[in-house]
């Protein structure tokens, strides 16, 4: 059943993404990405990184999005390596939450997903801002994060979500042909966010998004670049 939607939604997804990218205005990075009053994590604070929710797709010539497990697996691997290379940024007191431990944390993870979507929709994009937030990154999961703190002993949790599409070579060829005929076809794109949650009070203290038509998680070097883009402005511990 799901395949029936792939070709339809591929085009829709591309359009929507273009809209989202086009409407995203430029903004002062730092204040927008940080919760009011937050600048850095305390020295020696512990960080837990949750398994990244990542899917990579290839877009065929006709716009069909095809999941690529090897790419996703590479992406997860390269992303992890990329994170490791940024020890200076992440700090020395870092742990990874195992995939199987997500089973226990399912409710918190689902809740964070819903809140992160609202942050993306209402804070990152400039066209649907919530006036009561006054342009501030002011969201909190409250005491719902307690079980995660209890389990890991961490002070902060990093959530990562990435959906990447890449134009296959046939797609790229089709793009050229269509461009000659005056039809613009969307190529690949990256959509994602990184969210840092304070496990002591549930606040989202830092949030960064990724919306672009470049970036490549499939190779180590270019994946590093994506990691850096996603972690741009990540608060250090000091």
């Amino acid at each position: 059943m799901f395949l029936r939607f792939l070709s339809k939604v591929g085009r829709l997804g591309a359009f929507a993404l273009v809209c989202a990218i086009v409407t995203g205005a430029s903004y002062a990075q730092d204040s927008k990405n940080l919760a009011p009053g937050f600048t850095a994590r305390p020295a020696n604070s512990k960080l837990v990184i949750l398994p990244a929710d990542m899917e990579l797709f290839s877009i065929s010539a006709g716009g069909v999005q095809e999941p690529k497990a090897d790419w996703t697996q590479s992406a997860v691997k390269h992303f992890k390596e990329g994170l490791d290379k940024r020890k200076g940024l992440l700090g020395s007191n870092v742990m990874d939450l195992a995939e199987r431990d997500l089973d226990e944390m399912a409710e918190i993870n689902a809740l964070h997903g819903a809140v992160a979507q609202s942050v993306f929709l209402h804070h990152v994009l400039s066209v649907a801002k919530l006036p009561t937030k006054a342009g501030l990154l002011d969201w909190s999961l409250g005491d719902s994060v307690k079980p995660l703190k209890t389990k890991t002993g961490a002070d902060y949790a990093l959530f990562i979500w990435v959906r990447d599409t890449y134009a296959s070579s046939e797609r790229k060829a089709a793009m050229v042909v269509m461009a000659l005929l005056g039809v613009g076809l969307a190529g690949g794109s990256q959509l994602g966010y990184a969210s840092l949650v304070d496990l002591n009070d549930g606040r989202i203290v830092w949030f960064n998004d990724l919306r672009r038509v470049s970036g490549d998680l499939r190779e180590a070097q270019s994946a590093q670049e994506t990691v850096d883009a996603l972690l741009k402005g990540f608060p250090v511990s000091q």
Partner: protein
Amino acid sequence: MTEAMKKFFAVLLVFSLVACTSIVKVDGEQTIRNRMSLKLADAWNKVQLPNDRQPFDVWTQEGLTVDTLRFWAAVPHRGELVRAPSGSVPQGGKATRVPTFVTGMEPDQLVSLFETMYSSDGSSVTINKVEPTIFAGEKGIRFEFSVLRKSDDVQLLGIGWVAVKKEELFAATFLAPKLSFFSRLRGKAESVVKSAQIKG
């Protein structure tokens, strides 16, 4: 459709709507569709969706994917509580039934309307409490419910208020995630609802 795909494109669909969505701050005295007045102690965010054909207004504190406060005012006899997406109906076939208010409906039937409305996307809804109340100055019904949201597995808690005056329905529902958000935000929602008054 796989869940990941659904969620991904649900997000993108929301983004594509976003280009034409406007959100305004509402504060102080507000009126729903000229027929129900409210006095706000806190500011809320009122969302105007594109091609807005829905018979309810929707407000939020933390965002559309987190909490929603909906209002219905002066829904007439045979008025729908929610408009279904339009589509053609095959010859001799019936359109999907949509929760519709009919005069003379008993309290339990009114509650069923909302139960059906929140179930329509595949979510699982349970009514936990039903009791008489005064809403918007009229004898009405207050109900508490839970929703297990199909699209992202989030568990939500909700409160609803409904009353009928002169064959017109007035109602409000507040829904927020069970973890942390519902208890944090319900006071604000309840305060707005308590101030409701029917006009005209």
